[in-house]
């Protein structure tokens, strides 16, 4: 068989000779190897202080996007719920009333929008399915919780901060991932 790497070594199965049967030379050799590891570079990352950058394609917690004027983009069309292979998304639609133009972008909006993070498999199909650029997967993951209810994220947890009133928090949540197409 062709070896996959050039590091393959033939195993030597001949009986041990006198010196080898003392074990001590081999043990000393092994101790030399472990000792040399004292001076090797450690790959440890001190987690809470040091963080590794996320990959560009990392799929974490969802955010519900707003447009530049701070209006919710979601129109409760249900395409994300249909696309979701884990059936983690539930929503209820409602009609926009007069005077709510600054809250919702279209005349239909999601009155209730819930994602069960225990069901979600973070595949990102909702993001792909959304025609309104309303849902994105961010770079954070769901923190631990004491009960199952805590993992059902509602609009409170999912909505991105309002870019008009709280620009800084919005930028942070968007994190270079969430796009805001102007012409849609």
């Amino acid at each position: 068989m062709q070896p996959l790497t050039n590091r393959a070594k033939q195993v030597n199965r001949r009986p041990m000779n006198m010196v080898e049967r003392f074990y001590l030379p081999a043990i000393l050799k092994g101790m030399g190897i472990t000792f040399s590891h004292l001076f090797k570079k450690r790959p440890t990352i001190q987690y809470p202080e040091q963080k590794r950058p996320f990959s560009q394609v990392f799929r974490g917690l969802h955010v519900l996007n707003r447009d530049e004027e701070g209006r919710e983009r979601c129109t409760a069309c249900g395409l994300c719920a249909v696309a979701c292979p884990a059936e983690a998304i539930t929503m209820e639609a409602a009609e926009r009333q007069a005077g709510e133009d600054n809250l919702y972008r279209e005349e239909k909006y999601a009155a209730r929008y819930e994602i069960n993070m225990l069901r979600c498999i973070f595949c990102g199909l909702c993001e792909e399915a959304c025609p309104k650029d309303a849902i994105y997967l961010s770079e954070t993951f769901a923190p631990a919780n004491y009960n199952r209810k805590g993992f059902i994220y509602s609009k409170n947890e999912l909505l991105i901060p309002n870019p008009v009133t709280d620009r800084e928090a919005y930028e942070k949540a968007a994190g270079g991932r969430v796009r805001n197409p102007v012409n849609s």
Partner: protein, 357 residues
């Protein structure tokens, strides 16, 4: 006739010894405490990790955290366990571990306020035999703990531990007999003094030292001979049913044993509190300071051996039980016997001249 009542207690001596015992036990305990930290740190570094580094500067308070954790654990005594023996087991283990420190010469003499204080709790003339007796007692801790837990795994581990300790004690004893041939004394103080004059015993007894160190590993139940507490075979060994501070006692006893056997190794083979070139450089130092320096030298040697204990633990995998027994009975004992005979012959030859004269 002086009656027994006329014997007066030397209160100053009592106080001196009491303080000395207190200091030695404290040092042993603190050393054991920090051995646990060092063990984890060494393990980490040998495996390209960092080891504990969160609590305190470089994780130096980690042993304190461990102690707090152990104290706050629920202290469980199994229903079917033999309660008296169950409590006695860890006590025996710790007691036997600490008792050995009595005959070790921790340093030369200190002169404080005109009073000469020997830094050895008891300079008895059978020091080495005493150590043997007490080390053999250590088996009881393992045995009683394992037996009284009323648990198959614990019992298996206890039996393993007992037979292992007894097997390796033989080879250890034979190694020490040849050492005694060389030094001609059983008192540990004399052993050190002779080494100061003639050079360290490692020069005369290299084979004996190798046998001794291997046996010391086995006596301390350290890897590669940690069969009594083989986690993956006996899922913890003889202290499986123990929790809280009773478990802590067992773990402590293990580390104290390690410390004490390191000290004994340095005393018997590496000159004890002797500093190299101590006699050669005619020193003008204060004798008290010199004694303390000797103590520091002994500690440094002990630290080195403790490091070797850890180093070996994270290098060599555990022996199989039959391999362990074969090594003990079929390699170490014959080698120790051969070493003994050769040493005896050489010592006789040196003393009396060649037998053909």
């Amino acid at each position: 006739m002086t009656s027994l009542l006329a014997i007066q207690l030397d209160w100053a001596l009592m106080l001196e010894k009491f303080v000395l015992i207190l200091v030695v036990v404290t040092i042993a305990l603190v050393f054991a405490m920090y051995s646990t930290y060092a063990e984890r740190k060494v393990a980490g570094f040998l495996q390209d990790r960092l080891g504990p580094n969160r609590f305190g500067w470089f994780g130096l308070l980690q042993p304190v955290a461990d102690a707090i954790k152990l104290f706050f654990k629920e202290d469980i005594i199994p229903n079917k366990a033999n309660k008296a023996l169950f409590v006695m087991g860890p006590a025996m283990a710790l007691l036997a571990a600490l008792m050995t420190s009595a005959v070790i010469p921790w340093g030369d003499k200190l002169v404080i306020a005109g009073r000469t204080i020997s830094l050895q709790i008891a300079d008895i003339n059978i020091g080495i035999l005493y150590i043997f007796a007490v080390v053999a007692l250590g088996v009881y801790g393992v045995m009683i703990g394992g037996w009284s837990s009323n648990n198959k795994f614990s019992l298996l581990a206890a039996i393993r531990g007992a037979s292992q300790n007894i097997s390796y004690e033989l080879a250890m004893g034979l190694a020490i007999i040849s050492l005694v041939f060389v030094t001609g004394s059983l008192s540990l103080h004399d052993v050190v003094v002779i080494q100061q004059q003639n050079g360290w015993n490692i020069l005369y007894q290299p084979v004996g030292f190798v046998i001794f160190i291997v046996c010391a590993f086995a006596e301390c139940n350290r890897t590669p001979f940690d069969l009594p507490e083989a986690e993956n075979e006996l899922n913890f060994g003889y202290h499986q049913e123990y929790s809280s501070m009773k478990l802590g006692f067992y773990l402590f006893a293990e580390y104290i044993n390690m410390f004490i056997s390191s000290v004994i190794m340095s005393t018997l083979y590496f000159g004890g509190y002797d500093i190299p070139f101590y006699n050669e450089a005619t020193s003008t130092l204060n004798p008290n300071l010199l004694s303390l320096l000797g103590f520091v030298a002994l500690m440094l040697k002990a630290v080195f051996f403790v490091f070797v204990f850890m180093w070996v633990r994270w290098t060599i995998p555990r022996f199989r039980y039959d391999q362990l027994m074969r090594l003990g009975w079929k390699s170490l004992i014959p080698w120790a016997l051969a070493n003994m005979v050769v040493t005896a012959a050489v010592v006789l030859w040196m003393k009396n001249g060649a037998p053909w004269h």
